[in-house]
């Protein structure tokens, strides 16, 4: 894992990040309009105040970050040419690029960095409030140096400097007026390869080439148009006809992906989600009988036929999940397969556990009843709920489905805890501290805060492991801690891990170099070109 390696190197002395020269190949010819489908339409174009997925798919082309990341999750330079971290991990010094300009022609300086992180991201960015909690000041000794001062070491922070996660804003634009209702919320101004031209609501956002981009010769494309199409079969049709060229994050129904993949004009990749790592899970309300019983929770975990769900609901775009941490973290030693809930005799085991737990089958064949609150994020979740309903029926658990809209569902699950089972998919994000701790740590049982510990799982043992891992500098020890976490949580089973979702991204073959980073379509497309 990057942070760990980085910190290990840091402990040997000061580290200077390599300056990767971005060398554009010269064979690509400039020109062309790329049409991307984003679903749903973003609510606004203010990525500093909302991390709603669709926003980033548009604005990551307009805003640069201090850093970008390679597929190995190592940082590469962007607006920062290099950075250094002191051995105590409490100071990060960024050397900034000197030739970068905002789209309005004004130069980019360290004042913009200070403004972005201290006045905006730390205060109003939904994730930034947590990510930059330890950040106390950004010092700007000269226009091209920004020094981040931290209260405590926070190794995970280094994963959060991409243009998607932490867009760098021009102070002269966003610095005046209330940032929360800023006039430029829908007229983004950044330093990125494409500048914002127009947003026709319900139709598209148009971004044109930034001719003064600081990376000479880039971008190749003249224009990016991001289209919004409400109906899923219409989205498929647009891609099939070549009216649109790129789509990801489940915008195309999984069954249609296979069909489109067979076309000579379309390429499908599952790369570009390495900093996302979504896991489909069933959330169990561990404070509700009978789900407060560990044997019952394990039995339910055994009862789920993961392969059936992968094959028939997600049409092959997933693999069975074994625990709270995605196998994408295997290279950093943080991954381990948890308890094997996919054992061949899993149904028999589930039945045995339920008998042991004191819930024998009654005359009607059922042991007890549960309500499953479906995730209101699209029809695959409805199918998933129906499949789970049938699978649990096989072990004598009667499930009723409840389908409410997003607002009601969030309130029920994360505020009122008035549910038995719910389904969801949570992003592991770039580091377990950011994406995994929220599901289990007892200090994340916070009524009213969504996508945290809705299972209300609370155990001093797992809390301790996570607290240690947050500040543990040694990658090997950190890996061992997370493997232990996986073991303990999969045994206790407050959440049933079903599958690691592998979102397919579809790209029209006319276009090359579109998916070039672990952020996929959250990337900036600077080097994308049309053949």
């Amino acid at each position: 894992m990057l942070i760990i390696r980085r910190l290990a190197a840091v402990s040997a002395g000061l580290l200077a990040a390599a300056v990767l020269a971005s060398a554009p190949a010269s064979a690509q010819k400039p020109g062309g309009t790329l049409v991307q489908i984003t679903q749903p339409e973003p609510p606004n174009l203010a990525p500093y105040i909302s991390t709603s997925g669709p926003i980033g798919q548009v604005t990551a082309k307009v805003f640069d970050g201090l850093l970008e990341y390679g597929f190995d999750l190592k940082p590469v330079p962007s607006l920062a040419e290099s950075f250094e971290v002191t051995p105590d991990g409490k100071t990060i010094t960024f050397k900034l690029r000197q030739n970068a300009k905002f789209h309005d022609g004004k130069p980019f300086t360290s004042a913009d960095v200070r403004f972005t992180f201290m006045d905006v991201l730390k205060k109003v960015h939904p994730r930034g409030i947590a990510t930059f909690r330890e950040l106390t000041a950004v010092e700007t000794p000269d226009p091209y140096t920004a020094i981040f001062k931290l209260e405590k070491a926070a190794p995970y922070m280094l994963m959060a400097f991409s243009g998607y996660e932490s867009p760098v804003l021009p102070q002269h634009v966003y610095g005046s007026g209330d940032i929360k209702t800023h006039a430029n919320a829908n007229i983004p101004v950044g330093t990125g390869p494409f500048r914002f031209v127009e947003w026709r609501r319900g139709e598209f956002v148009r971004l044109d080439k930034n001719k003064d981009y600081w990376r000479a010769g880039l971008p190749y494309l003249d224009r990016i148009v991001v289209r919004f199409i409400g109906d899923s079969s219409t989205r498929t049709a647009a891609l099939e006809k070549g009216e649109a060229h790129v789509a990801g994050f489940g915008a195309i129904p999984y069954n249609d992906v296979k069909k489109l993949a067979a076309l000579p004009s379309v390429e499908v990749t599952t790369k570009g989600y390495e900093m996302v790592s979504p896991i489909v899970e069933l959330l169990l309300n561990t404070k509700h009988a009978p789900l407060d019983n560990q044997k019952v929770r394990q039995a339910l975990a055994y009862a789920i036929d993961r392969q059936f769900v992968i094959d028939n609901v997600w049409f092959g775009y997933g693999k069975p999940a074994a625990g709270p941490i995605s196998s994408n973290f295997a290279p950093s030693g943080m991954f381990e397969a948890g308890k094997d809930y996919n054992a061949a005799d899993r149904v028999a085991r589930a039945n045995a556990l339920l008998d042991e737990a004191g819930f024998p089958k009654k005359a009607d064949g059922f042991r007890f009843e549960l309500v499953h609150d479906l995730t209101p994020y699209g029809e695959e979740w409805q199918r998933f709920g129906e499949a789970v309903q049938q699978q649990l029926a096989q072990v004598g658990v009667k499930v009723t489905l409840r389908y409410e809209d997003v607002a009601k569902w969030l309130k029920r699950v994360y505020t009122d805890y008035d549910y038995d089972i719910s389904s969801n998919f949570l992003y592991n994000l770039a580091d377990p501290v950011l994406g995994v701790h929220r599901s289990f740590h007892s200090d994340r049982i916070r009524p009213g805060t969504v996508f945290v510990n809705g299972a209300r799982w609370s155990s001093p043992e797992t809390d301790k492991i996570m607290d240690q891992a947050t500040v543990e500098p040694d990658p090997a020890k950190r890996g061992a801690l997370y493997r232990e976490l996986i073991k303990q949580t999969s045994e206790a089973s407050p959440v049933i891990y079903v599958l690691e979702l592998q979102f397919p991204t579809l790209v029209n073959k006319q276009f090359k170099n579109v998916i070039t980073s672990p952020l996929g379509i959250y990337g900036n497309y600077a080097t994308a070109y049309r053949e």
Partner: protein, 327 residues
């Protein structure tokens, strides 16, 4: 003076509609308050989770920390000055969002209105002239089949046939976003995109008007004045065109006015199938995002639209039928 009387009539009707429109807004305002979950949670949900302090910050910003009655008062006070509030989800004033979406919806509805009324009346007229012949049966059966087919199904089938198989029309959207046409080219392009959605939305109403027109024609032909006209020796053709047609149109026109509200509802589905950037889609999205300022704005605007169209229909009615007294 008939002209002044008409003017007074219009003014009086407009005044009468004010409470209706305001009532619609108040009712929906209160209804929406009953909905559990709020915009702040949805925004946090869209963001993939957010700390508590962020959600509290949002609520405060939206004025949701105030009692309902205060919120209602503020909203209504704003409404009276045509200030429809701010959509916090879309980070834009509601009025601006609505106006952006208004004209695609008007375009789609207007085209549908004309298509369905024009073809519907013609079909009904022909069926009535051919009454009880095989031609009448065919027209009637076609109309009733159109009437019975779910809208979204027609839309999907048309896309499948005319866009994907034949490639005659674009699958979706209102214009070609790669070309960015200007001037006349843009008009042609939009018209090209308009074909499938307006046909889809038209079929149902076309069937409705055709059936109504036929029934209305037949009813009129049985009335006394037609018999009188026949006795006077007028030809069937003259009778039909001079007397029957005009009177038979009245219920159709009324129905067309009544249907405007439902047309807006139908456009939710058609706009969703064809990615048409109108109010219907906006309403659907704002409902599920709990973006109440925006949704109330849509209800306000669409009620105004319905009321205005109804008024126009009534005026047309008066003009078609001089016997109706106004005042």
């Amino acid at each position: 003076m008939r002209g002044t009387a008409l003017l007074f009539y219009i003014l009086r009707r407009l005044l009468q509609t004010v409470p209706v429109v305001l009532g619609v807004v108040v009712l929906n305002f209160l209804l929406l308050q009953l909905a559990p979950g709020d915009l702040a949670t949805v925004l946090a949900g869209e963001a993939g989770g957010a700390p508590k302090e962020y959600i509290d910050l949002l609520r405060q910003r939206f004025g949701q920390d105030q009692p309902v009655i205060v919120q209602l008062y503020r909203y209504m006070a704003g409404l009276l000055t045509l200030d429809l509030g701010y959509s916090f989800r879309q980070s834009a004033p509601v009025l601006q969002l609505l106006l952006d979406r208004l004209w695609p919806t008007l375009l789609l509805m207007g085209t549908t209105f004309l298509l369905s009324l024009g073809f519907g009346v013609t079909m009904g007229l022909l069926a009535a002239l051919w009454v009880r012949t095989w031609k009448d049966h065919i027209v009637s059966v076609v109309a009733i089949i159109f009437y019975a087919t779910p809208l979204f199904w027609v839309g999907l089938m048309l896309i499948l046939l005319f866009s994907i198989k034949l490639g005659w029309f674009p699958t979706s959207g209102m214009e070609d976003v790669v070309a960015f046409n200007e001037g006349w080219d843009r008009v042609v392009d939009i018209a090209h995109h308009l074909v499938l959605p307006s046909i889809t939305l038209s079929l149902f109403y076309l069937a409705l008007y055709a059936r109504l027109m036929r029934a209305s024609m037949l009813e009129q032909r049985g009335l006394d004045y037609v018999t009188t006209a026949r006795a006077k020796g007028l030809s069937e053709r003259q009778i039909t065109i001079r007397h029957v047609l005009r009177n038979a149109l009245l219920p159709v026109v009324t129905m067309a006015g009544v249907q405007v509200g439902s047309l807006l509802g139908g456009s939710v589905i058609v706009e969703s199938v064809f990615a048409w950037p109108g109010l219907g889609q906006l309403a659907y999205q704002s409902l599920f995002a709990r973006d109440f300022n925006l949704l109330l704005g849509i209800f306000f605007l669409s009620s105004c639209l319905v009321v205005i169209v109804n008024l126009i229909v009534d005026v047309v009615y008066v003009l078609l039928d001089p016997r109706i007294r106004i005042g």
